[in-house]
Amino acid sequence: MVLTIYAVLTFTFFLIRLMPGNIVDVLVFQYVMEGVPEKEARLMVSALIGYNMSEPILVQYTNYITNLLKGDLGYSLYYYRVPVSSILGRAVPWTVFVLSIGLTISFVLGVLLGMMMAYRRGGIFDGIATIVGTVLSAVPNYIIGLLLLFTFTMTFPIFTQGLLGGAYDLRLKPGFNWPFIISVLQHGALPIITYVITGMGSWMLRMKANTISVLGEDYVVAAEARGLKKRRIAMSYVGRNAVLPLFTRFTIAIGYMFGGSVLIENIFTYPGVGYYLSFSVTSRDYTLMQGAFLLITCAVVISNFIADLLYSRLDPRIRLE
């Protein structure tokens, strides 16, 4: 696990420096256009943002790793020495908030609908739901996001406050007070609905396939032969076994969640990790980019690890002796 994280952060460190363009040149250019000689401008910019591009890359890398071991992610280059940890610390809760709700609702809905589709396979409901599920899983989430954005503006203007972007009305003081909670929900509603709609399709289809395969198992026939109630068989025998592989995916999806969604958060100007990640790439804010990638890597690796542990706990058949 540690090795994977180390490999990814090393790869990321060098890769982002190979990208054309850098923030120092942008700032130096501003100074040069104002008449400051380029050499002097470079010194000024380095001092201002605390980053010296002329340092050998291996020295930069060693410093980065040393600081990382001390828990220091460095300072943002674009945001003038604001700690990266503070920027990501502000962004992570909002990403987790909208994505966890969106993920959970889409998972629960997808599982229930998938089971219903399997039980009524070949019927009208199954036909329609399969088409809907296929379409939803195929359409990129930013398309749904844009559609929702325009629908809830032009046709049903009910999220006007949320349309102003941000995670809440900036006039409200964050805390456990009613207006703040409501404002947070209003601002998060459209991203959440987007995640629910776009996530649901694949859960539905997978659950349907799993349920159909479980329905043919001997223990289901045995349960029916024992005269158990259909509802009990569906929930305790079929559902329980069919959802197992999905639960692993769900756990992994929680890991990916920390990366947010670059496109959705930008469409709704929602200040999560994806929003800052996209901006850090555009502005070539190396330290912020590195911090965001490190966060995502850790979350994904840890969630994979948890998924492994969880699966063996949930499914006794693969439990290690």
């Binding site: 000024m44 972007g165 995670a167 009305d169 349960a223 305790s236 200040p271």
Partner: protein, 655 residues
Amino acid sequence: MTAVLIILLVPAWTFLGNSVVAVRAQEEEEKITFTYGQPSQRPPVHGNPFIPGNYWGIPGLISEPLAFYHYTLDKYIPWLAESWEYDPDKLVFTVHLRKGVKWSDGAELTSKDVVATFYCSRIVKSWLWNYISDVKAVDDYTVNFELQKPWLLYKYYILRSRIYSYATFGRFSDKYQELLEKGADASEFESLRTEFEQFKPEGRIGTGPYTLKRISDNGAWFVKRNEYWRGIDNVPADEYIQVYIGGAAQVPPMLAGAFDFNSPDVTAEIMKEIEARPWLQCNPKPGGFMPGIAFNSKIYPLSLLEVRQAIAYAINRTEFNVGTMGDPRLAGTPEICVGMLKHQREHYLNKSFVSKYIDPYEYDPEKTIKIFEDLGFTKDTDGVWKTPNGTRLEFDLTLPAYGYWPVGADMLKAQLGRVGIKLNIRVLEIATYNDATRYGRYQIHMCSVSPNPHPWAGWNQYFVGPYDVIPGWDGRIVEVPWVGKVNVTELTVELGATTDPAREKELICELAYIWNHYLPFYDLRDWVWGFVYNTQRWIWPPLDDPFYSWHTLDEAYGLGYALLAPLIRPRAAPAPTPTPTPVPKETEAKINETLLTVRELKASIQELKTAIEELKKAAPAAAAVPMWAIGLIALLAITTIAGWVAAAMWKRPAG
């Protein structure tokens, strides 16, 4: 059951949210708010306004300028300065400050504040000090700006400077002057600069009528303070909200009436939506820059003047602009291409000069072909022209991947393709584009020239350099018919240093000719700003008011002045209801049904409101909690619900 609960929770909470926010809005109805939607990412908040690109609100809200400059009327409006005069012999610009101006900490504005402001800009090596040699306080209300040399734009840049408080920044400016007096070495100045760049003042002391209440990831909230030197009652907005919201995301709130003013990239489709809402007003006016194409004239055959001119004749600018923008009102096709904005062309160039010396480059593809034939070019097998040495007229067209550029590139490719010039479109992500074009790694690239506030600014960018940064054109010695051979760099430098209006006009004509004839850049369009003004809550000036032209040329200062003067005032009468779009009968029936439901819901909301009021009274004030705690709790709650669902499914079957 759990799933049903969850499904119902989000819409129900959102609905409740709307009601509670509506109740809150009603409670705050008395407050007059101005909301500005700015189409960009929030700039960094350093706290020190002398750091480049740093956020400090729009001019006038917290910190005010010595004077506002009204572009359209070419007039300075005295603000913190009462009057000023210039002595061309001594190169001294004297500014007399208004008496009785108070800072938000209660101190009076004096010349010490002005001197501190300019010396702090010197600490961070502001380019202004390439022209200014010293700033001295003559008395408490008089400041002398001593210039190193005559300077064309001295008044513009000095008077528009925002003044910051000596109480906050004085120790740094004093230290700098001390170092100057004692003849300190460079390292001492450098260490002062480093210290200054790390200085992030907590509060913001200003002479303006607002204080910054809060700033978040996408906006800032300013509230009116108790006292203001011009009388706080003269400022109509109790609070001012600046929302940073970029790209397509700003259009929905704009159309929903959430902004009082915003400045989106208006397209033909957005224009139609605006027109469908009579309470939104858009008054397209040419703005502060001109999109076009820059030639890298170091590369053969673009180094040939005739080739650049032939390309210009092959471009139909009207077709390009109308086709790209989709609406003739947004097209902004310039009648001539001289590197000057529309109002500058009208002001400086007379008709006889234009007709005699300026080539309008009317669309004439046959002329293009004739130029190529005269140069001895021949056509390749695929119809693309090639030079006598076999170089094909096939160029990379580099452009950034945003806005209308990609559509424009397709139009250019089609137009030039018709005359046998092949363009390979190279769309680059913005940082990559900047990197490529800044260091000359292009053949032709789409970009803008910004001759703001004076044509000199655009010419200076191309003719003075630095050439290692903008290498597109370096033909320094050129021929001007009525003058002879001139050095274009020297001409541009001279223009920047002239204060004689007659000489200024002569130089402008010469440089306009050079730009037009030698084509380092071909200006295809006068950028048209479609600023959008919401008339539901505010009364804006009539559409023919010069404010609109000023505003599109100088967005922040124009808006600052409009709020402070005030050119705009809150609408006393209730906001007009937007004209409803005709709806089919079936939809109307559904709407009526919905209305009935809404009425029932309203009754419930009233009950809810009462309950909330009771809760508010009963509950102790909520303590502020950190964001991570809220996120953690949300995550725990969701995980618990998910666990609950899972547990229900995993319940072991009996027997």
